[in-house]
Amino acid sequence: MSIIDASNISKRFGDIQAVDHLSFDVQPGEIFGLLGPNGAGKTTTIRMILDIFKPDSGDINVLDGSMTEEKKNKIGYLPEERGLYQDIPLDRCLTFLATLKGMDESAAKPVLEGYMKQFELFENRHQKVKELSKGMQQKAQLITTLVHDPALVIIDEPFTSLDPVNTEMVKDLLEKKRDEGKAIIMSTHQMNQVEELCDRILLIDHGKQVLYGTLRDIQNSFSSRDLMVTPLDELPISINGVKEIRQMNGRFRLILKEDAQPNVILKNLINQGVELTEFEIAVPPLNEIFIQVVKEQEEGTHD
């Protein structure tokens, strides 16, 4: 059963087609990356999933059916436009938001305490929210998103304002939730985080689907016939089957001749007595794929 099943959804605001015939699904136990340049329609898509907006056409099924008030308790949402009640103590703010997700105060208390300890906010629980740093508030917002153990988590830029230690902790937490079978939709511009976390991605631009599938398939489809190698000493000046050798940060990029196969090149290198510490097929970073695809789209729309 899909957690989200969107088919052919569209949304228009005035002259702007924010979302244009988009179809996708999100499964339990996966981290799903919703990517796209600014203004691509990511937030509108998320808001349609959450029934803040109704799509002009198309259907969205969330948790097996259309959105209801009861289902809100099973969804955790960290929006892009986010904040907390500033004038009250942190624990009261978190408790209030947890009760709005249908938790009893008594049930919320131990869970919140656990999270506050994990996020190193326990000492600050009696402080007013406005006295907390931006990073602390960001952690508190993540607690609000996760406290009620939602089946569907939708997070928009979860790592902004977090230091590397906390970023790592949040990543572990998200992976743990995925392993528990929760569905997580993550929208971010930090492509390295997407590469590390996401199982599948949907890349949209101008409200349209550009890329959709598993991260591996997408990267493979963009991989060239290049190899990345790092020799222990030196590379020979010429290698059979290699058209060109480029040095990059101590690594070498080997551009193959038309008919050459990677395993034949490996064999050739070993035969030539080269010792290698690294040999891999060059997969383009998601960042490059993103830029390339978005640029192509831009050119396409300008033609």
Partner: protein, 404 residues
Amino acid sequence: MTKIWQIIKHEYRRHVFQKKFILSLLSLPIGVGAMAIVAVLIAILSTNSSPVGVVDQANFLQEFPQEKQDGTIFEPAIDFLSYQDADQAQTALDGGDIQAYYVIPETYPDSLEIELVYDEKPDSGVQNQFTQLLKLNLDLTKNLDANIRHRLQSGSNITITSLDGSREMNEDEWYLVFTPFVAGTMFVIVVMTSGGYLLQAVVQEKENRTMEIVITSVSPSQLMTGKIIGNIAVGLTQLIIWLIFSWIALKVGGLIWPVLQDFSLPADYILVLLLVLLPAFVMVAAIMASIGASMTEAQEAQQVSGLFSLPIMIPYYLSSVIMTNPNGTLAVVLSYIPLTAPITILMRMAFTVVPVWQIVINIAILVIFAALAIWVAGRTFRMGMLRYGKRISLKEIIGNRVEL
């Protein structure tokens, strides 16, 4: 339902347990109390309760009151001392034994003139008590029955009864005239307080960017209902605490100033008071909520809300017209206009008999407009909830087109 309860609790706690609220709550009774204490102190300090001399050349005063009358702080009981002649009395006055003396000349029964000699003019209370003393000694009254004499002395108490007999009023019910003013003022203050809080409360989620988190947890109508009830509860808390203070003040004041002990409101007046003020309260609160929902910043909303609070006060500015002609066209029309209706009807009821059907129409109008205001508030809120930094136009609220 539990979510609405959580929102009510959140809104209530946000204000009621704040220093600012407690201060504003106590400042009014403390201010009024302080003024009362100052007034009493001034009265005590400025009222001269020393005896007054009487030189009775006409031999008119045969009888002095058997027992000393009960005085009040504002009018202490005065002892009247008899002197043989004006010289003696003058000596006593110069010596400070008495504050003044009356000389009743031999010609008094014909001339009806009495001389009062003083250094500093005595309070009116002295004059009143001396008049009582004279009344007691009038020939005319001497042979009358004690009860009748007492009635003559205490003077008239006129009771006015309306033609249909449904309404009576006498001097002892002076407070009925003040009630609409006091109740109205309290209403305005309480409405403005809750309305002001509600205004902030509705803008709050937009200002602090919790809107999307909240509306993906509860429905907009749950949020709105919780906010309206929560902030009305804050206003009612304020009202109840002030009423308790007023009750204490009446009880304490009654010890000093016995007239206050007579204070009691007729049950039907209280009923109408509640039936009028409750929907009016909800209506104004919902209007405030609509304003808040259509604005993006609390401060901006505060300014616009001022425009709506003015009409509520209009009956006060026109009070002389309403008082002199409480069933006139202006008064009747004002009691049908939603914002001016609550205070106008209370004022009219204090001064005249308002036909029941007019009261019913008044309440019905208030209830209908309260419901309408809630509907508009909900609609405005839905439209404005995700518009950070952009106001909603009236056209959008009324029309169907929503520009997002």
